[in-house]
Symmetry: C2
Subunit: 207 residues, 2 copies
Amino acid sequence: MAKRSIPDIVIGRLPVYLRALSFLVAEGRQITSSQELGDRLGISSAQIRKDLSHFGEFGKQGTGYEINFLHDQLRQILKVDRMWEVALVGAGNLGKAIADYAGFAGKGFVITSIFDTDGTKIGTRMGIENVAVMDVSALGQTIRDREISVGIIATPAEHAQGVARTMVDAGIRAILNYAPITITVPSNVRVQYIDPVVGLQRMTYYL
Amino acid sequence: MAKRSIPDIVIGRLPVYLRALSFLVAEGRQITSSQELGDRLGISSAQIRKDLSHFGEFGKQGTGYEINFLHDQLRQILKVDRMWEVALVGAGNLGKAIADYAGFAGKGFVITSIFDTDGTKIGTRMGIENVAVMDVSALGQTIRDREISVGIIATPAEHAQGVARTMVDAGIRAILNYAPITITVPSNVRVQYIDPVVGLQRMTYYL
DNA sequence: TAGATTGTTAATCGATTAACAATC
DNA sequence: TAGATTGTTAATCGATTAACAATC
């Protein structure tokens, strides 16, 4: 019962499960249950069990889930049991904060190249890996040379589509887009959006 | 045909529609259609029409939608035709980037108070509004005094739940949480999450 | 064993889509 | 008018939930 056409919405919840399991691991806990996970995440236990069942059987009746084991399994399923090189475009306030963000450590991602158009930024060193900012004209070649699959866009909205195009043409297949605009990419490329304004505006309706 | 129990998922798309309309406004365009919006956003035209139909009739058969009008209507529906004061907790790299973010301008939000626990940060001025960072012990009283409804959490994960609690107790009803942890709040309080690791991990499965 | 919790089934619930009459 | 596009209906599709046999 595994592997064929898992709903996107299920995949979308797995990283949240993984994050909760990481906390349980850090707390030194051994066993958890779909009930406990559901309570922590505000999700029904049935949904957690159903989601996991798409990938195999990870629990024991009457007992629950071995935390370390399930944690490892989810890391494998999500392919974050390895380190993905990430190319970041945009070295302004936002790009710098992303490059400096310590939260990627141990989660499967490391930003190993940074690009900008601003001549005063190019050549300066930045981020966890302390890499030199390159001119955005080197973006495509760098992606190709290093076979980078994951990109982050942190440019102004007006440049996002162009950058996405360059990334895709060079072989990027996953883009995290911080620019406040919807971008168009081929259907074999995934995009996730991060826009705090959209996040806030999703809540004000209810106020 | 309006106002009773609109699906959450519909509300969630409206800010994206609004964002697209803002671009059309900026481009000086007058009229658009559900087809054009759908093409830009990668959504079916039927879905856009259905979503809008929850709130009223905004278009003209044979013609489409008057861009400025629909833009204004969505701003009213989402209640972003006013300015919401936002309290930000966490003045580290991430908090500073959020405070300095120019993208809130004209979208309904302004960060007017910033809090941290770090004594070396307290008193320094920060963000678009150039406000002095306050000790987090002043959070509750500030929210009450200024009747602030919207909060942003940009603390380490271990402090997020406590901050959320303080915010909620003081009357906050919408929280944008950048901390990489699920927080628990009463059901009348909305939470939106921003976690780049979750965003990236939602894509690696497909690589 | 007795108690607990999984994995799975079937039913329910909700969202999306296709189609088209209405009408600008 | 002829062409285009809305708003809405009904059908389809998909996701969530409740319930429980299996079993640790």
